[in-house]
């Protein structure tokens, strides 16, 4: 019997190649997209959960209550760890880290000195390896970090620095690496590369003791600048609240009274670190907020449900073509159960095909995600468990999508089935189908319009004037201040380089090149000081970036003790001065006092997410550690020249060159990811939605087969018949648009509020999304409706 079923199933599949393909591909797009999203969500929600103590580890965070706002910090004073260890015996372990930060390393491989810059160096105390589980390839986690002049490398680093393969790691142990050109560190351990979903994203570990020895003042200072990250391990979960309240009364022992009032120490579960937004991301890391994960989970479920519903729909539509077979089989002795079994079996074969394709599709999607999200070190993998889950989904699909059409179909009365009197209303109302497709197109249009809006905002970032010029400007670091003049002179001799300026950073704060301070009038008390950004620039800075002077002048010199400020309009607003009034006035900042000699028109000193803030440019001879170079049209020549001059001037350092525009673009990384995400989701939604539409059209076409035949016999043109179908789904998509548009309006407004500078929403953005969907839908349906319109009417009418 089953042989017979397989035969029929196989031949039916082959006979309806197109619709079989649509079925199989449609379902597998749905399953693999849903799975890919769920795997992504799981990956993002399980950061650091692989540590055996994960549930008992807490990060100590600081809440800093200022009069106007509360600041949430993920860093704590350096001495906190030691104090906790001494005063709270109930805490199992306390550990402290500093970083990750960038460091420069030198290797002597016998022939030459090689210099590397490593951005993710973490200083950790000896408790660190006891709390977090790393896979140690070589070295003893208990002792590897005891000697302060030691260093632990990840496998990748060991390979990169010592050019060895896996088997030869032994050779690396005990070798020396020079830190920042002067401190020799002995390799004391090698650990396996870290998984991508870890907040501990370092590439090397150096003992915290080394950092303490180098920075004795910082290490003992409870206030002032600090960058320590403190973790505690509690004996059990659920003890954090009581510890928090003990800390509240304990901290006055170490903090200054005014800080004791402002600052409170809280405990954040390690497993929340990656998903809670308040504390921001640690250097080199990123945060994936809980609500994005929830939303994605819902989207994934929607995608799956819609794909299954579409599949069931298409299958039911196609099954009705088999009513004749049902009739024959019943007349020849087939019982209803036989037919149910046969059709379930057949549909299950199709589902099985989809599942196999889903595994391949999922693998592809995960690879794409890893490639596209390289910036966040995404490492998604297809596991055996995922394949198992796909098959569970398949089983679910069989129950939901294969049983239904089989039951419907098998119930046909043989006579009616044989005389083709089966109405399509008998296999599920056309209204239900229409609403389902309309609902899908609500989602399609949500994504399409949202994608359009996000892309327009992205475009706005690029095209909106920033108030300074950024084109053809590259930046290099200046590692050695004494050689600055030589560097500058040599470069400017070159014809491809037209202008240069030395500064602490470009006008817009990019790559973290931002210095903060607080400013006030000399007569005001320090508490009344307001936040401002400072930029150190040479006399050429204002002219180089094309900043517009509203009053006063540029600097004439840089001084060891600065005495001149150029400020922006926003700073003046808080003081109530006009540009002219401001000239000659003195203001006081944390670093000292100086006279305002110029006022510049506001430029975007922050990326477009944030407002323009008060900004002070000062004529200081320090902190000018960036060289900005304007290059001519022939980029490649100029860049080669810069590298040559740089490497000749600053021997022994690592050369870096960046285009200012690239760095500015990097400030919109998250938005770029969102844009990518929306584009992918739009494509998935469109393809699934179109499959739903194909299902609906095949219903409409077969339902109206006879009507079309009669119309044609009576002289209707192909175009007129095509129009009959187009009318049906056009109204469907318009309905969907009417529902989707206000939703997108609401949510995109919410999103745009993240940006101080943003596009205005207008009707055409929505309409173009709607039109685009309509066109895609039109093309999708045209195939089937044209086929029906072109068909010989005799065929449609003969079956009576």
């Amino acid at each position: 019997m089953f042989k017979n079923y397989i035969k029929i199933a196989w031949r039916t599949l082959l006979k309806n190649k197109l619709s079989s393909m649509i079925n199989i591909i449609g379902l597998s797009i749905g399953i693999s997209a849903c799975m890919a999203i769920l795997i992504f969500v799981r990956y993002e929600a399980t950061f650091d959960k692989h540590h055996s103590k994960a549930e008992k580890i807490y990060r100590v965070v600081q809440h800093n209550k200022l009069p106007d706002q509360t600041l949430y910090w993920d860093i704590t004073p350096y001495p906190l760890a030691e104090a906790l260890r001494n005063d709270f015996p109930e805490i199992e372990t306390v550990t402290q880290t500093m970083g990750p930060i960038g460091q420069e390393f030198t290797i002597n491989n016998g022939q030459e000195l090689k210099i590397y810059e490593e951005p993710r160096v973490l200083f950790v105390d000896t408790f660190f390896p006891k709390i977090f589980d790393f896979q140690w390839v070589l070295g003893d986690p208990e002792t590897a970090l005891e000697d302060i002049n030691s260093i632990v490398l990840t496998e990748d680093m060991a390979k990169k620095y010592f050019e060895v393969s896996n088997e030869d790691f032994d050779e690396v142990l005990g070798k020396t690496i020079l830190l920042n050109g002067k401190d020799p560190l002995l390799v004391s351990g090698i650990i396996k590369n870290l998984p991508g979903n870890s907040n501990q994203n370092f590439s090397m570990l150096i003992p915290y003791g080394f950092f303490k020895a180098q920075n004795p003042d910082h290490a003992l200072n409870w206030s002032g600048n600090h960058q320590g990250t403190t973790y505690v391990v509690l004996p059990n979960t659920g003890l954090e609240k009581s510890l928090e309240s003990k800390l509240a009364s304990w901290k006055k022992k170490y903090l200054k009274p005014e800080e004791d009032g402002r600052i409170s120490f809280m405990l954040q579960p390690l497993t929340d670190v990656h998903n809670e937004t308040a504390y921001g991301n640690s250097p080199g890391g990123y945060i994936m907020p809980f609500n994005i994960l929830y939303t994605l989970t819902i989207v994934a479920m929607f995608i799956l449900i819609i794909a299954i519903v579409n599949f069931a729909n298409l299958l039911t539509a196609q099954s009705t073509m088999r009513s004749k077979e049902v009739g024959i089989r019943k007349v020849l002795g087939g019982k209803r159960l036989d037919l149910i079994v046969q059709f379930i079996f057949e549909n299950s074969l199709v589902i099985l095909g989809s599942l196999v394709l889903s595994v391949a599709g999922l693998n592809f999607l995960l690879e794409q995600l890893n490639i596209n999200l390289m910036v966040i070190n995404m490492q998604l993998e297809l596991g055996l468990g995922h394949i198992g889950l796909i098959f569970i989904v398949g089983l679910l699909t069989i129950i939901l999508a294969a049983v239904y059409p089989a039951v419907v179909l098998s119930a046909f009365k043989p006579i009616r089935a044989l005389t083709n009197k089966i109405q399509f209303s008998e296999v599920g109302g056309i209204n239900v189908r229409q609403s389902l497709v309309a609902f899908q197109f609500v989602i399609v249009q949500l994504f399409v319009i949202a994608t359009i809006i996000v892309s327009l905002q992205m475009d706005y970032f690029k095209s909106e004037p920033m108030g300074f010029s950024s084109d053809a400007i590259v930046m290099t670091t200046v590692p050695n201040f004494e050689k600055l003049d030589v560097y500058k002179q040599t470069l400017l001799e070159n014809s491809t380089i037209s202008n240069m300026t030395m500064a602490s950073g470009p006008p817009m704060a990019v790559d973290g090149l931002q210095l903060g301070t607080r400013f006030r009038l000399p007569k005001q008390p320090p508490e009344e000081a307001l936040d401002a950004e400072i930029k150190v620039g040479d006399p050429n800075y204002v002219e180089f970036y094309g900043l517009e002077l509203l009053a006063g002048r540029s600097f004439t010199t840089n001084k060891e003790a600065f005495d001149e400020f150029i400020v922006n309009e926003t700073l003046l607003t808080s003081l109530g001065w006009s540009p002219q009034e401001a000239i000659g006035k003195k203001i006081e900042i944390n670093e000292g006092q100086a006279t305002i000699v110029g006022v510049v028109k506001d430029f975007h000193n922050n990326s477009f997410q944030r407002d323009i803030t008060p900004c002070i440019i000062m004529n200081w001879a320090y902190f000018q550690n960036q060289a900005f170079i304007k290059i001519g049209n022939n980029h490649t020549d100029a860049i080669a020249k810069i590298q040559e001059v740089w490497e000749n001037t600053f021997t022994g350092s690592v050369y870096h060159l960046k285009f200012l525009n690239d760095s500015i673009e990097n400030e919109y990384l998250l938005e770029k990811l969102i844009f990518k995400g929306f584009t992918i989701l739009s494509l998935i939604a469109i393809s699934i939605g179109c499959l739903g539409l194909i299902g609906l059209t095949s219903f409409m076409v077969s339902r109206r087969n006879k009507e079309i035949g009669i119309r044609k016999v009576l002289g209707a043109s192909i175009l007129q018949i095509f129009f009959i179908f187009s009318k049906e789904f056009t109204s469907l998509i318009i309905t969907a648009f009417v529902i989707a548009a206000p939703l997108v309006y609401y949510f995109s407004n919410l999103w745009l509020e993240n940006f101080a500078y943003r596009i205005e929403l207008s009707a055409w953005m929505f309409l173009s999304g709607g039109c685009l969907t309509l066109i895609v839908a039109m093309i999708t349906c045209s195939f089937q409706s044209l086929k029906s319109a072109l068909a010989n009417p005799v065929n449609a009418l003969r079956d009576e």
Binding site: M1, N4, K7, I8, R11, T12, K15, K324, E325, G327, I328, R329, K330, V331, L332, G333, G334, K335, D338, K413, P414, I415, L418
Partner: protein, 221 residues
């Protein structure tokens, strides 16, 4: 006696009005008869055949088939009854397009729990008897109408039914093909004693039968 219809009525109700499809039909069929049903289009011939074949129900009257009273039987028993004793031949053949001739013949046997070897033998026997061994691996679309109907008759016979119901079996065939099918029916009736009830429009075909029933507006005349 094979079957007996007593005062059979069948109607549909549209707009509160009863439209009779069959009106007071009385009919007795003996085993071994060859009956032709005639009448203008829409007179209820197919309806009558479907009622006899138990594919369709009726609203009033009694129907006895081999000592079973069909009107009191449950759906399930009814279908068991017709599966065992009745073979159907259709005007448009109704072969399964996805199956070969051989597979089409085998199909009804699959629902009757014959063993594989038995099925093979029965199919081979039928192919032989109808002279279509050479066509056994062809699909219906590769056969002429006459050949398809031959397969249709063979399929109806393979389950060894007592009664064959044929609704315009030659309606789609040319006169030569029609004649072959009619001669086949005659032979089955004479040599194998199979009872046959056929619907036909042609006097010539009707002449092969032993008795003619005329219908007009659902009534026997």
């Amino acid at each position: 006696m094979l079957l007996k219809l007593n005062n059979i009525f069948k109607w549909v109700t549209t707009g509160g009005q009863r439209i009779f499809l069959l009106k007071d039909i009385n009919l007795e069929v003996q085993e071994g008869e060859f009956i032709s049903v005639m009448g203008p289009s829409g007179s209820g011939k197919s309806t009558l055949l479907n009622v006899i074949g138990m594919l369709d129900t009726f609203d009033e009257g009694e129907y006895n088939f081999l000592d079973e009273s069909v009107h009191t039987l449950k759906e399930k028993h009814r279908s068991n009854l017709y599966k065992e004793y009745i073979g159907f031949v259709f005007q448009s053949y109704h072969l399964l397009d996805e199956l070969t001739v051989q597979e089409n013949l085998e199909m009804p046997l699959l629902y009757k729990k014959y063993k594989g070897s038995e099925r093979k033998a029965m199919v081979a026997d039928m192919l032989d008897r109808f002279n279509i061994v050479g066509k056994k691996d062809l699909f219906p679309a590769q056969l002429s109408g006459g050949q398809q109907q031959l397969v249709g008759v063979a399929r109806a016979l393979i389950g060894k039914p007592k009664l064959i119901l044929a609704d315009e079996p030659t309606g789609n065939l040319n006169s030569q093909q029609s004649e072959e099918i009619m001669q086949l029916f005659q032979k089955l009736n004479k040599e194998d004693g199979v009872t046959i009830i056929q619907v036909t429009h042609s006097e010539m075909n009707a002449a092969y039968g032993s008795r003619i029933i005329n219908l007009l507006d659902g009534r026997k005349i």
